[in-house]
Symmetry: C2
Subunit: 332 residues, 2 copies
Amino acid sequence: MPPDYFSGENLTQYPFISPIQASIQEVEDLMRSQARDRHPELQAALDHLIIAGGKRVRPTLVLLTGNMLGAEHDRLIKTAAAVEMLHTATLVHDDLIDGALLRRGNPTLNSHWSPAATVLTGDFIFARAAKLAAETDCLPLMKLFAETLAIIVNGELTQLFSSRGLANRENYDQRIYAKTASLFEMSARAAAMISPVDPAKVEKMRQFGRNIGMAFQILDDILDFTGDQEAVGKPVGSDLLQGLITLPTLYFIEKYPQDANVVTLLNGNFSREPKAMTNLVQSIRESESIELSLNNARSLVEEAILILNQMPAGEERQALEDLARYIVDRKN
Amino acid sequence: MPPDYFSGENLTQYPFISPIQASIQEVEDLMRSQARDRHPELQAALDHLIIAGGKRVRPTLVLLTGNMLGAEHDRLIKTAAAVEMLHTATLVHDDLIDGALLRRGNPTLNSHWSPAATVLTGDFIFARAAKLAAETDCLPLMKLFAETLAIIVNGELTQLFSSRGLANRENYDQRIYAKTASLFEMSARAAAMISPVDPAKVEKMRQFGRNIGMAFQILDDILDFTGDQEAVGKPVGSDLLQGLITLPTLYFIEKYPQDANVVTLLNGNFSREPKAMTNLVQSIRESESIELSLNNARSLVEEAILILNQMPAGEERQALEDLARYIVDRKN
C-alpha cells in the first residue's frame, strides 16, 4: 500500500499523542477484532475502514481524559473503541447518503460496495460499538451512548429535511453540536464517567469536550474555504456550493447583506447560479469572516482550557491542552 | 384510514393476548414517544411504522415471559419496546435493501421516502431501541441486545454475499436463526433476565424462545408456498423465484434430486428459467415437503412446550403454550 494511501493525517507526529501512543494501537486492534468469526467480506470492510484511519481525535480525547482521571485501563480502551466505532458507523452511512466516493482521500465503502452491503456494514459497526459500550459495565455510559447516537442521527435528518440557503447562528450551533460536538462531549464525559471522580468533574469534562468539539467543526467549516484542496479532499467552498451555510458565510451575510451573490444565496437560487456561488466563495475567502470565525473557535478553546485547568495537573492535562490548541491551529 | 390498512394481522383476537392486552398498548405508546421533540418528519415516520403494526409476537413473548416469572412491570414494558424497536429498525433497513414497496400490505418507508431518510430513520430507531434497553438497568440485557443485533446483521450480510441456489440444512438453520430465532431467543431470555429467577430458568426460556423462533420462520417459509397470496402479501413461491432455498425446497431436493427443475435450480439457473421455477413452486406445493416441513416446525414447538412446562404454572404459562401452538397453526 503506498504511503499516501493515508492521506487523512493521523496525529502520531504530535507530542500530545506520546502518552497514549500504545493505547491508540490497542484501540485499533480492538476495533479490528470486532468482525472476527463473521463474514470475511465484513472483516475486509472493517479492515479497510480502520486502515483508512482518520485522525483518531475522539479516542485520543477519551484516553487522555481517562488517564488524567485514573480510569481503569481496559474499560478505557473499550470506551475509546466504542466511541470510534460509533463515529465510523455514522461515516459509513453518511458517505452512502451523500454518494461520496472518497473520504480522507480513500475510496469509501459505497464506492465499491452495493448500497445494501454498505447499510448493513454500518449497522454491524453500530452493533459492535454498542457491545463495546456495554462491556464498560457502566449503565450511564450506555445511556449516553444511545442518546448521542440519537442526537447525531436526528441532526442529520433535520439537515436532510431543511431547505438549504437558510440559516442563522442558532441553527448553525445546533447543527454542529449534533454533527460533531455531541460525540466529542460524549468522549470526554464517558472517560470521566468511568473514572473515580465526583460528578462535578464529569460535568466539567463534558463542557471541555463540547467546546473543543464545537471548535473542531468550526475549523472544518473554515478549512472548507481556506484549506489546501488536496489535504481537505474536497473542492474549495464545497459546502456553500451545495447551499450549506456555515459560520464564515454567516459572518459574511451579516456584514454584506446587499452583496448580489449573498442575495442570490438567500433567495435559495444557489443551485441555479453556480458562478455566483463560486464568486461568493472567493469573496468569503478574502474577507474578515475567516478571521472572525477563527476567533470564535479560539475562544471556545480558551474557555475549554480554563475548565481543564481545574483538573489534576500532569502530562495528560498538558496533552489535552495541546490537543485543544491543535484543533484550532490545524491546517487540515 | 380504511380498516384494511391493517392487512397485517395482529394478535388481538387470540385468547393468549388477553393477559397482556393493556401492556401491549403501553409498549406501543412507549415506542411512539421515542421521537418526541425530534424532527416532525421522524415522528410521522415512526407513527406510520407503528400504526402499520405487525403481529407484535415478540413483545407478546417478552410480556408473557416476564409476567410468568415476576418481572417488574416498567422494566418489562421497556424490554418489550426495545425488542420491537430493534425489530422495526431492521425491517426499515431490510425493506430499503430489498427495494420492497409494501410490507404487510402497507407502503414501506422507502416507497415514499428517499433512501437517505430511510437509512437515517432506521438508525434513529436503533438508537432508541438501545436507549430503551439501557433503561432496563440490566447490563447483561444490554450486551445481549448488542450481540443479537450483530447476529441479525451478520446473517443478512452472509445472505447478501452468498450465491443463491445453493443450500443445505445447516446453512438454512443458521440463516433462520440469525434472521428470526435470535430475536425470539433474546425476547424470552431478556424477560427472564430481568425477573427474579435463577440462571437455569433463564437458560430454559432462552431455549423456548429459540425453538419457537425457528418454528416461526419455518412457518413463514411454508406459507410462502401455501399461503393466501393476499394475506402473505407476496406472490406464491416468491423466495424460490428469487433463488432462495428454504425448508420445503430442501426436502423436495432431497426426495427428487433428478427432477429437471431441481437440476436447473441447483445449476444456479433459476433467474434464467423463471418458467422452470414456477413449475417447481407448484410441484413443491403439491408434494409431501410441505407436511415434512410442518412436522419439523411442530416438533420444535413440542420441544419448546416441554421446556415451558418446567416454569411456574398459571395463566401466562398457558398463554405462552397457546402462543407457541399458534405459531405453527397460523395461516399468515
